[in-house]
Structure formats: structure tokens, C-alpha cells
Symmetry: D2
Subunit: 484 residues, 4 copies
């Protein structure tokens, strides 16, 4: 009999091994633990984090949750301080980790602001996004290399921003890797469209009932078909775009005290009116790609219902102290706070269920372009729907864009690709080329762009060790570059 040695490569719903890299200090791991506990899937999770203590506590929490009511699945948790141990034999790898926000995010937000770049998030594109990418990519290249060595066939879930830069770098380092870059923004759009379908068409609609043909790059995705269980929603969108709903103006008074994550969709509507395709990401992200919305400073941004995420929020929100509080894990474990199993809104378990062969699942995923975005560059990481089935993820061919939209997207891809190429050998001047043609940076005079770059590099030099800062012509030209 023919011996097919690989018959065992399918994922086994009763025995999935997950390596969890990072995520120690935030709500993400506790959510996952609870979702898994209520799923039909069983297995083991290995937790690896720069802070071993965080990983260990999550492991304790994970095992503790198994004992709670409603925990139907069978999972065991283990913390490890060895990446090798975490990865070896893993079926699934989740990566979600980053450097100290107080020392990085804060600069990403504040320094560009000094130069007049009034971004809302500063985390995925523009000067802040680019520096975040420059800090993150070298570390993720190491993860990719470790995956190549210890679990090359694993399904890797990347939740780390900037998703396009980071996912691209993982593939650049190890082209055979199976990474899915994941993000919530498109889910939010479907959620909103479900609400419209209920309100205006009196359909009984939830997010899952809405299907969209989505395409673009992460945080700058576009929808040109939308349906609610087969009912075409584009005529409704067209109608709404002309109503007051889509013509609201805001001031700081309206926004103060609101969550920065509130999405008023006014940027979305304006872009739809101009280009005839619907953006599918939060307005706060869109304005960093359709940069003309950023050009009016605070007032200009607020007018569209968007407020800037303050660096103080980032600094405070992401500290270990704050995180502990956020996650509740300690309180739950100590009994200080009553625990009840809840389900998150995350799609991880949905995707995993499809990968183990239980379901067919369609969702938006960031993947290298093999034709799904026909008029964007091949290999660039693009976001479209993909179908997930047993051990398989295939993007759906989503077609192309109206020329002006494509033009803006391609410009961003050029920055992303340039920085990823530059990261191969830490060539700072090469990265600066991508920085200089970035659509946010383009509003700066030549020397200001250079000085902004230099100032960011100086402020974050500790996190840019894999880059040849000393050898850079751009940095040495600028007085702003004075690393300690």
C-alpha cells in the first residue's frame, strides 16, 4: 500500500497546538482564552511574551478558566520563555507584541504634530506608522525565521500593526509562511451596513448577513458590492449619501468626551460621494490615507467627526499598570471580581473552526497579492475577502479600483514596499525615500521632512538597533538627529 506520510497534517479539532507570541499584557489573551473555552475545539496553548510574568499569569488564567461553568472545550495552558519551545510543533501561531508604547507611540504621535502633521492615529501610515514599522519589522523578521525553523507549516495570525508592513515583512523573510493579517475594520463596516439594512430596509440583519466585495490595503479598504442576504445594498448607500445622515458637520464641542473610536462615517460618505466606492475602515484610519482630510488641523479633523488619539491616552492606556486593570485577570483569579465567561467579537475561533474543517468561513484577510487585487502590485500585502476551509485559505478575486482611488492606494503601497525593502539590510536612506514620498509627509518642505525623520530616529534610536543609523546620509545632514 502506498504510504502517504503526510496523512496527519490536517488540523485535528481535538488537538490543536497554539503558540501565542506576545499579547501578555492586554485584554487579547483573556478574550482568546474565553473564546476557546466555549468552542468545540480542544488543545494546548503555549504562551511566550517578553514579559514572562504576563505570560505565566495568562497561563494560570487559562487553566483556571477550564474549571469554570460553560467551559466546554478542553484546553491546557503553559508559559515558556523559549521561542523554540513555544513554536516547535505548533499548528497555529498568534503574534501580537510591540515595544514600550510610552517610549515609542508617544513620539510617533507627538513629533509629527510639531511639524504640523495632524494625524488621528499615527500608527499604520504616515511618519508615525512608518517608524512603528521600522521598529517592528526587524523583530518580526526574527519571528518569521523562527517559524521557518520550528513550525514552517503553521497558520500564523498577525494582529500587529501596521498590519500591511508587518505581514509583508513576514512574507519577505520567509516566503512560504502562512500568515493571515487580521483586522477589525471591515467587520465594523459590515456591522454598520447591517444597521442601515435594519433601519432603512426593515431587513432582519446582523453583521453576518452582510456580504461585501472588499479590497485595498489594511485601513484603506473599499467596497463596491454590498448585499444583505442577496439584497443589493448599493442603491441604499447611494440614496443615503445624499441625505443629512451623510452631511453632518462636527465641532470639538460635539466630540469632546466621546470615545476616539466612535465612528461618525462622515469621511466615509464624502469619499463615497467623490469616488463612487465605499471605504471600509474607520474614519480615523481613512483620513491618514486620504490625507486631504488631515489638512485642516484639529478643527478640520473635528469637522468630519474625527478626533485625534492623544499620546497621553496611548502612554497611559498601554502601560503595564493600566493593562492589568484592563484585563481583570488578576481580579478574577483572586476572586476580587466575579467571573463570567463571555464571548468576544473576534473572528479567530471562527477562522480556526474553518481551518479544522468544521465550517466554511469567509472573512477579510491581509495576504500577498496573487491576483485578488488585479490592478495592484503582485506580492504587496492586500486585504480582500478570503475563504477559509480545512487547512486552506484562498483570497477571492475582487477586481480593481476607480483610477483615483487606485492612485492613492498605490502611493501607499510604494511607501510600504520601499520601507520593507530597506529593512532587508537596515538601509536608512532607502527607508527615507519611502518616508519622503509618503502622502502625509508630502505636505512638508524638503528639509522639514528630513528633520522630522531625523528627530523621530533620534527619539526612538533604542528601538532601531537593526538599522544603520550611523551610515545614513539623511540623518547626518540634519541637526535634528542627536541620539544620546
Amino acid at each position: 500500500m502506498v504510504q502517504a506520510t503526510t496523512a496527519d497534517t490536517a488540523l485535528d479539532i481535538d488537538d490543536v497546538t497554539i503558540a501565542y507570541i506576545g499579547g501578555g499584557s492586554r485584554q487579547w489573551a483573556p478574550n482568546l482564552i474565553q473564546d476557546l473555552a466555549q468552542s468545540p475545539i480542544s488543545g494546548q496553548v503555549r504562551l511566550y511574551d517578553a514579559s514572562h510574568e504576563s505570560a505565566a499569569q495568562n497561563a494560570r488564567f487559562g487553566n483556571w478558566v477550564q474549571e469554570r461553568d460553560g467551559a466546554v472545550a478542553d484546553w491546557s495552558y503553559e508559559a515558556t520563555d523559549s521561542l523554540e519551545v513555544a513554536l516547535t510543533g505548533a499548528d497555529v501561531v498568534i503574534i501580537s507584541t510591540q515595544y514600550d508604547p510610552a517610549e515609542t507611540f508617544v513620539h510617533d504621535l507627538d513629533i509629527p504634530l510639531e511639524y504640523g502633521i495632524y494625524g488621528a492615529v499615527a500608527a499604520t501610515i504616515g511618519p508615525g506608522g512608518i517608524f512603528r514599522a521600522m521598529r517592528t519589522i526587524p523583530l518580526y523578521r526574527e519571528f518569521a525565521a523562527a517559524i521557518r525553523e520550528y513550525c514552517p507549516d503553521a497558520w500564523v495570525f498577525n494582529y500587529t500593526n501596521p498590519v500591511h508592513f508587518v505581514t509583508r515583512a513576514l512574507y519577505d523573510e520567509f516566503p512560504e509562511i502562512n500568515v493571515l493579517g487580521l483586522c477589525h475594520e471591515v467587520l465594523g463596516t459590515r456591522h454598520r451596513l447591517a444597521r442601515y439594512a435594519r433601519e432603512y430596509l426593515e431587513l432582519d440583519a446582523e453583521r453576518a448577513d452582510i456580504s461585501v466585495n472588499v479590497k485595498g490595503i489594511n485601513h484603506f479598504t473599499w467596497v463596491d458590492e454590498a448585499r444583505c442576504r442577496g439584497v443589493d445594498l448599493m442603491p441604499l448607500i447611494d440614496d443615503l449619501a445624499a441625505t443629512d445622515v451623510a452631511h453632518q458637520e462636527f465641532t470639538w464641542d460635539d466630540l469632546e468626551g466621546e470615545s476616539v473610536f466612535d465612528d461618525n462615517w462622515q469621511v466615509t460618505w464624502e469619499l463615497y460621494r467623490r469616488f463612487g466606492v465605499l471605504p471600509a475602515a474607520g474614519d480615523r484610519h481613512l483620513i491618514e490615507y486620504a490625507t486631504w482630510f488631515m489638512q485642516g488641523g484639529k478643527e478640520g479633523l473635528n469637522r468630519w467627526g474625527v478626533q485625534r488619539t492623544g499620546s497621553d491616552y496611548r502612554a497611559k492606556h498601554w502601560t503595564p499598570a493600566e493593562s492589568k486593570q484592563t484585563t481583570d485577570v488578576e481580579a478574577w483569579l483572586s476572586g476580587e471580581k466575579a467571573f463570567e465567561l463571555t464571548e468576544s467579537n473576534e473572528t479567530f475561533v471562527d477562522i480556526l473552526l474553518a481551518l479544522v474543517g468544521e465550517t466554511t468561513y469567509v472573512t477579510n484577510v491581509n495576504l500577498p497579492n496573487v491576483g485578488q487585487c488585479d490592478d495592484l502590485q503582485r506580492d504587496a500585502v492586500v486585504e480582500t475577502n478570503a475563504i477559509v476551509t480545512a487547512n486552506e485559505v484562498k483570497p477571492l478575486a475582487a477586481g480593481g479600483f476607480p483610477r483615483p482611488v487606485r492612485s492613492v492606494i498605490r502611493g501607499h503601497i510604494d511607501t510600504i514596499e520601499t520601507v520593507v525593502e530597506a529593512s532587508r539590510d537596515g538601509d536608512v536612506d532607502h527607508a527615507f525615500q519611502g518616508f519622503l514620498v509618503d502622502q502625509q509627509v508630502r505636505t512638508l518642505q524638503t528639509e522639514d521632512a528630513r528633520d522630522l525623520f531625523a528627530e523621530l530616529a533620534a527619539a526612538e534610536a533604542d528601538y532601531l538597533e537593526d538599522w544603520d543609523l550611523e551610515g545614513s546620509a539623511v540623518l547626518t545632514e540634519s541637526d535634528a538627529y542627536r541620539p544620546e
Copy 2:
């Protein structure tokens, strides 16, 4: 309240209107009628056929079936001799019709044979396939024009061969048409792989458990990933290719009396060994595209386990007399033969169930290339998997080909595209360019190619009325062109 006038465009599982064009004289309609009767879908079917009598009998049969045991759905049938009546308001159109086989197919098979072209099917490529396309395309352009006028949003199912030529011509005539070109061959491959999974891997596998990444053009599709509920089958395929299973030789003695549709997979295995990707169509079709298998005449073809479909079979099998016998409809209606509802193996109802929003269904479909076959020409009709959901069909991005395989595919696409272009204004000499570079015809000396073309044109002139035969330089150069 915003008035979305199109809220009613979703297909309604309880009220689907199907226009059935052709199919009167064969088993296809009775199968469909039975499948529908057992489905959860209800509605009406309008039957239109060149032979109104056939359509009328199928209508009677359809309504009669509704009264049988097991007919759970609610369908009504009506025959019409007006294409306008059949199409107006149709949600779904099925097209399956062709000219008198005794006067066409027979020539397609016999005349090339006189020139030494020993094809097995002669129905989808090569001289016979090209002439079938030339006869069929003008009629299908009329169908496309009628659909544009009477039901532009309908889902159109084309089962007519040559599927690639015909589907392409429908889109060429009416680019916004929603045609799915459908074919069974890939289903057969999945069926076979299921058998191998059972036999060699002891998996519990049916066709539906097998997923493949399939791509190419109809009857010349290729698989580079295959799984059985997530288990990678490529190592098994690799192993099998080296065994006796994949090294069988046949003679006429082995094949005589066997069905021409029996598939011995020896062509499949040989192609897999050479190129490392697995063909996913019956060997009898493959050899008409990988034309080197045709170069040994009868003996050469038989050696690979393939036998030629005789023209006598075609002539007899497709006569009205034979068809009546085949379909049993008369016998059932008269009570001469006991009737029992059976389910066919067709995917039509599966696809329809997905289109009305009941399921998500993935199957191979012929569609214009929008990126699903990244290294083949855009707009050419290619075959890959597509996902079918409520009112939506999207091809999956299937990637590219090894160069030599791509080379052969592109050559066939060039013939197809050339003939379809030529059909726009009936330019015979332009069509001959596609004929001359066809990979079967290439084995003929220049004048022989011309004479074969002329002889076919003369024999089938009655069915080529939309072509400018008189104005053709190629035809007038040849003594073989003597239309009555």
C-alpha cells in the same frame, strides 16, 4: 425614510423563475425537473426549445412530477415558443442547445480524421471544436442580446460546449451578463481523488470532502493543491505516480466494448510526472489539449487508455429517436415504465441553493478572468473554483502555472480569443488564423490546414450563415470548398 427600490432583487427561495433554453431532447431537463422537485426551492420554469414539442412534453412531465411522491417543492412548468416570454423576468436562465448532431458533429469528427487528426472527442478544441464554436457562437450572441433585453440581471448557466468559446462569446456580446460556464470534469477528478483517499489513506471520503485548487481553461484544468478535509493529498499523488497504477498500457483489446467515457487516468499521470501539476479533466479531453498524446493515431491513443468517440455514436445517440428513448419521459408519462424520483449528480440545485442564500457553496466555474488565473490573459474565460453565496459568485484567486503548462494553455486561449474576435463580424479569414495556430491543426502542412478548414466549412455551410464564407480568401484558395 430612504426608499431603496432594489430591496427586492434578492432571489426568493419560494419563487424562482427559471427560463430553460433548449435541452428539450435529452435527459438534462428530466433530471433537472426531478432535482428541483426534491429541493427546498419553489417557483416556475419556462421551457423554450427549437423543438416546441420537446419543450411541451417536458412541461407536461414537470407538472406531472409535482404530483409524485417525494416531490416536496412547488414548481409549475410551461412551454413557450417565444424567447421573450421565456426570458422576461427570469431569475435564472439555463442554456443548452445545439444544431443537429448528425449534420454537424459527424463532420467535426470525420473530416479531421481524413487529415490524420485523431481526436477523441472533437467537440471543444481542435478543428472539430473550432467549427462547433463557429456554428454555436452566433446563436449564443442572439441569446446574450435577448438576455440583455429581457432579464439582464438573471443568473445564466451555460452547459453548452465548447464551454470556453461559448461563455466567452456571451460575455463578448453582453459584458454585464452573469453567466456561469459549468462542466463536470473537475467533479470527476475530485471523485477519483476521494476514491484514492479511501483506498490508500483509509479516509472516509466522498467527492464533497475533496477540495482542490483548480485552474486553467475548460477541459484543460490543473490542480496544484488537493486536500481531503484538510489532509494534504499531494504526497499521495506523488507516490501513486510512481506505481503501476500510474503506468498502465492499453490496447484496443482492453478497451473494446468499454464506454468511451471510462477514464483510465494514464494521460493524467503522465502529465503529472512531466509537469508536477495534476490535470483535472478526463483523459479523452486532455489529449485534445496536450496534443502530443494524439500523435500516434488509434494505437497511440489506445495505449494511454483512451478511445475515440465514434461519429456513429454521436449521430445515433443524439437523434430525436434516440433521445426519446434516453429520456424515458414518454414511457413514464404513459405509465409504460414505472417512475421513481431520483437525484442526479448535477450541481445546479447546489448552486441555486447558494444563490438564494441558503448555503455557501464552492465549485469550479468558468468565468472571465479578473485575476483568478494571474498569468493568463484577462477577460479570457478560465475555470477555477468560485464561491457562491446569496446572489453572488466570486472566483477564488488560484495563482499561476509552471511555464510549460501555461504555454500550452495560452496557445489554446489564443485560438479561442481569435475565433471569438472573428465572430464579431463573421470574418472567416480571421477565424482561420485561430484555426491555423490551433495545436491540433499545427500537425498539418499549410495547404492541408487550409483544405481541412475549407472542407469543414463546405460541409457545415448551412450552419455557418452568420459567417462571410463568400468573402473569404482562405476558402476561395481551396478546392475543398464547394458548398452546394
Copy 3:
């Protein structure tokens, strides 16, 4: 004997018919007349201008020049007020005409400035360039249609800015037209490189000795190879980029009183340092494409040695009164001023000499992209070298660009293509899409971009008659649109 009826289609050096459209009021025609008089070519020139008087005076001047010493060629001149008469049978068409600058140019320069767009020229890209294109394209579509009717095989020389927009529109209207879009900027680069070769390499070098591999779009062309009679100049350029020559800073004091056309090459050097390829257009043009140089206002621009062309200069310089003075024609004809035949620096006669078969000539030409700029869009009008021989112009395959440079070029092409597409049916909102993604306009907040567009449209409404201003959503949204 075979009768080739077209044997007479070669241009005859002794009998060339030139139609001169426009150009009546400026120095261009007098220059051409003198160049032709001293050339080995003879023939007739038909002058057609919106101002018949200007055309008539140039005809008088042309015939008068024939009587002067040094006029070796045999030319006759005739003014006509019929485009049909001018074009019928023409071998060569020169087009160079535009609307009243005082009512158009002035707005192109002044209105964007109110919005903070500190352009130097405002004539070929950015808001001013786009509006100039919108005014000009409809007229040039008429010229293209007339050429199709009266002299479809003629060689057409377009000198009208924006050269890329206008040349593209001519091809869009009549794809078989033979237009060469011509511009002096690359000649200036070669002139400068000759000077460097003399000064630093002690070579005996004139412009004609310098060959460059040039590519891009008009006013934003790039050189990646440069030689002086085979001597590679790139090492010299590399060396110079690091010297003081390439690191000069300017203030208004340095520039005041200098000609706006003086080129200090500091933008050129900075771009070379950043991207490793050498821009080949005047700095005043480059900054409108590499828009980061415009972001510092007057001071920022001056710092790079560039000064803005004032609208007063445009208004005055281009008035009929001023033009008369400029051209001297009246003074020469009246004897008021002594006349001496001089040769201009134009390449028209060089190109014509090659077209009639006397020489082989290589020069930079704007042509639709058929592969000469491999990584830019096909059919877009690009500028590369072309070789001119008897009745033939063929672009040289110039290769691609470093990604960041390509990114900027592609963005501009997207604006150009969008506006040209929009011009087909005068769709203002479509044109606005190109305006909104223009790299100068991107510095404006959403509403400001819209208002700027509306204000320009209102100010120049008289010259935008072929555009559907009333039907535009963008215009009606803005208070700034109040055409009289």
C-alpha cells in the same frame, strides 16, 4: 508592373507643406521663418490663427524674409482663416495656440496662491495646470478631428502646454494621429551637462555631444545615463552632488531681479542625492511635480534658488501689445529696425530634416507609451528619446524608474489620465477626481480643494464651455462657484 499608389508619400525636401495653427502673436513664427529660410528644405507655409491679422503679418514677413540675404531656401507663405484650407494636404502641422492669458493664466497663478499653493509656474500640473488643460483640451480635440479629416498622415508638432495633457488628448481623439509633443527642458539639461563636461573634465563639449537616457513625463523627466561622446558622466554627477556647487542656498535677495527662467539646479541636485537619478527639467518645473519643494511658501521656494513667475509677468508678457514688441516683425518690415537672419535654438528644422530623410536625429519627444517607459501605463504620453528618420519616429526603450520616483510620476499620470477621460464628455465631477488627487492639491483640506476648484471654474467659465459646469455636484456644493 505592380502599381504602388503610395510611392509618393515620402516627404519631399523640396516641397514640404506646413500648416501653422496659432503662434501668430509671439516670437515663435518669426523664428521658424528664419530657420526655414536658412535650411535646405523648401515648400509652403499656411498660417492660421485666431487673430487673422497676426497670421497675415507673419505671412508678409515670411515672404519678405525670402528676399533677404542668407535666405537660401525657397518658401512661400500664405495666411488663411479656414482651418480646412490650412490643413488640407499638409505634410506637417504645427500647433501652438492658447486663450487670452490675462484672463486665464492670471487666475491659474493667483487663485491657487490664495489657498496657499505656492507654485512657480502653474502651467502644466497642479490646479493651474489642470485648469489650463481643461480649457485647452476641447479646442485641441477639434484640431485632432480636423487633422483626421484633412491631413490624417501629417506630422503634427505640439508645443502647447501642458504638453502631456494636450498631446494625450490629441491621441485620445484621433488615435492614428502622428503627434510629437515637444519641449525644451531636456535640451537644457544636456546643455548644462556639456558645460560640466567642459569645466570639470576638460572635454570639448556642446549640447549635441551629450547623450542621455531620459524618461518620464514632460517637465518631470529623469536621466539615468549620460555621456559626452561616449564618456560616462554619471561619476562626475555623483562627485558634483557632494560639492558646494550642489549645496547652495538662496534668499530673495539673491534672486530679485534675476530672470525667473534662471535655473540654479539646487532642486535637481537634491533630487539626485535622494533618488540616484537626475531630473532633466528646470527646477521651476520640478518643484511642481516633486511637490515637497513647494511646501515652504516663497521663502522655501527661494531657498532652492527658484522664484515664482508672477501673474503680472504673464499678463503683461502675453498681451498683443507686448508680443508685437517682442517679435520685432513690424519694426523689421517697416525698416525701423535693421534685420539680420539669425538661427534659433529650436529643433524643429532638425527634426524636419530627419523626417525628409536627410539625417538621423535623436531627441526627446512626448509620445504615447508603447513600451519605452516600461513601468508606466501604456498609452499615457511619456517623454523619452526618439529616433527620427525618413517619415518615421520611434521611441527608444528607456527602461524603468526607482520605485519612489515612479510612484510620484504615476500619481501625476493618474491626474492627467483622469482629466483627459473626463474631457470626453465634459464631466466636471470626474475631472475633479483628478484634481483632488493631484499632488499639489493634496495639501488642501477637502472643502478647500473643492472651493479652489469652484473658484477657478467660476473665474474661467468663459473658457470652459465644453464642460458641463451646471451639472456638476462639486461645483454646486461650493459657495465659491458663482459664474456671472
Copy 4:
């Protein structure tokens, strides 16, 4: 002062160093020596040949020619048996060498014939051409590596067939190499067109007066524009194609005794009639690419005026004995035969004159595709016109092809690229993929193709040392593979 160290890189007309690799035993070197002697260029030539004796004799001859009347240039010749010595510091390298024809060419011609492949030349495509490529490429990879080491900037002239395979392999090995692949066929077409222009249009025309827009791959190039000093020749070609001139039929009686190199143009005319573009290579080559002309065996070939080159001719013609006689060198040197300086028809000196900056020269050259053949694969070696100026060669953008012609060309490129890829690591089975889809081989049944491949490999095994013959599955499957 800036020191540009590369100021001396231009070629110096008075001091050109040529390395001549191979060519020892044929007329080529004596021709070159005489052409150089009569040129305005001076320098030295280093001769390197597998037969040092041949090289030495040519050196003697070269120096001897310098003393003859009419030798105006100043050249010195030196033979060397060191590739390093020959190449170091060379400005120009000429490569023209091959293995013993009696042991290789003869098999290339005779073995395929046994399988019914009736090629006319068997030297550049088809089974013979592919094996010639497989023998030649490894040696030429060594030359490319040596050039990279000893004279990376040199201009390399490759005259060795198969020009497309070999030139491609040189670039594959050393991408920065400056190779021109050169061939006479297009020159022959221009020569013929000049004759037609004289005969039918009464123009005073020589080859140099004819310009063509030529494109394709070597020996399968096509012309879609042709002019005689600007006069369009396409109408004449169109007229002629319909006359008796273009409708001749031949028999062996007509051809017997004629030179195999006589070109009757009947294949050319037939292809022109079919596709509307004019082939620009000898009919004997065309039929090996437009393979339908080969399908009628000897009679079929002769009917088109083409005769097969016999292997006896090859074997005899290319022996050292024959070559000596051919070259006359010995007789001249010994005084046995009177010597008179003659000029060859070669373009080498014309190209060299342009490279040293004396002239501008346009001729057909085989170069990697950077856009000059827009619809063929990038990097494939294609043949178009190129312009040669001082130290620079740039292909002209020649546009695309009618689809059916493009289809045939692309098929051949796929074979070429596959074999070149396979040669990187001597992968025989990979090369066989290219062989199997070759358009000549396609006429063979599967096993016959394999056996033909195996038989050729066995016969020429001594010359295929760089290929992994032992590791090949295809070879071991065949009884025909029995290397001694």
C-alpha cells in the same frame, strides 16, 4: 577640481582592444581582419581559440594584411591560449565558437529526421536547436563569468547560434553584461525589399535605404512597417502578395543543385497573406518556427522553395580541412593565391564605428526585452532595431504583434526560457519540459518525444557534461538512452 576617474571609459577610435574568442577555423576572422584594415579604427586584436594553431595563423594573417595595399588602419594581432590574457582590458569581445560539427550537428539533423521531423536547418529551434543550445550554454556561461571577471564593461558580440538561447544564457549568468546578439537575416529582408523598390517602384534603393520596424525573436522576426527613404513599402508588399511572384510552387527538380541558402520567399509571402505582417528571416528558418510548413516532409518543404541542409554538408563543410580551404588564409600567406583586400557584408565595423562615436547606426540586435517588444516577456532575448551611438546601444520600442503571431512566438520563448532555466543546474528533466512543448516536437507521440530526446542525449553525451544525465527520469525511462 572634481576628479571624474572614469573620463577614460569612452572607446578610443585609435586604440580599441578586441578579444576574439573562437572563430579560428572559418572565414569569419579573415573577413574581420580585412574589414578592420580598411576602417578608420585602429587597435589590437587578441585571438583565442580551442585550436591555438588556428588562432596563431589568423594572427599571422592579421599582421600580414597590415602590410598590404589599402590597409589604412593600424592593427596588431596576437594569439593567446589564455582566456584571461585575451579578455583582460578588452573593449570588445567577439564570441563565435562551437563543438565539432561532425559529432554534433550531424546528430541534430539526422536523429530528429528518423522521427519524421523534417527540419531545414535544425540549428536554432526544434530538437536539433535545443540540443545545440544544451551543448553550448554551459560553455557560454563560462565565457560570461570570465567577462565578469576580466572585462565587465566590454561590448560583447555574440554571433553563435542559437542566438536567442545563447544570448539569453549570457545575460542569465551575468546580468550586467553588454552582449549584442547579431544575425544577418533581417539584413537579407532589407536587401530584398531594396530590390523590390528598384524593380517595382523604380527607386534607387540599396539595403541601407530600407528601414523596417522589426521585432520578434531571432530567425522569427516580423516587419510591420517598411520604408525606402520614407516611401511606405507596405502597399507594394500588399500588392505583390497577390501576384505570381508570391505564388510560386517548387519541386525538387527546381531546387536540386541550388544553394540551400537561396531564399525563394514563398513561406514569407504565405505568412504575410495569413497574418498581415511580413516575416524577416530566410524561409529555411521560418519553417522551423511556423512549423506547419514542415509537416509535409521533403516534398512539402520543397513545394515552398525550401530545401533541407543535409548533414553531409554540415559534416564536410565544417571540418578543419574544409575550413582551411574556405578561408584561403594559407594560400594567401604562402603566395599561392593572389590577395586583394575586400570588404565583407558584415555590420561589425559599422557598429564599432558607432560605438566609438563616429556615427549613429541603426540595426537589428538581439537584446533582453526591456519593453521594445511590449507584448512579449520581459528579459527574454528579442530582436528589434537598436540605435548605436558612442558607447551606447538602445533598442527601439517596436510595439506588439497580431495575436496568432504572438502566440507562436511566445511558445518558442517558453521553450527557450525553460531550457535556459534548466541549464542553471543542469536539470535534464526540466529541459525536457521545454523540449516536449517545442512546436516541432509536438508532432511526436509522447514516448517518441521522450525517445528522441534520449537518443539525442546519448549521441551527444560527450558534449553534455554539465547536465545531470544520470539523474534524469526521462532518460532512464527510455531504451533509447544508452550512452557508451
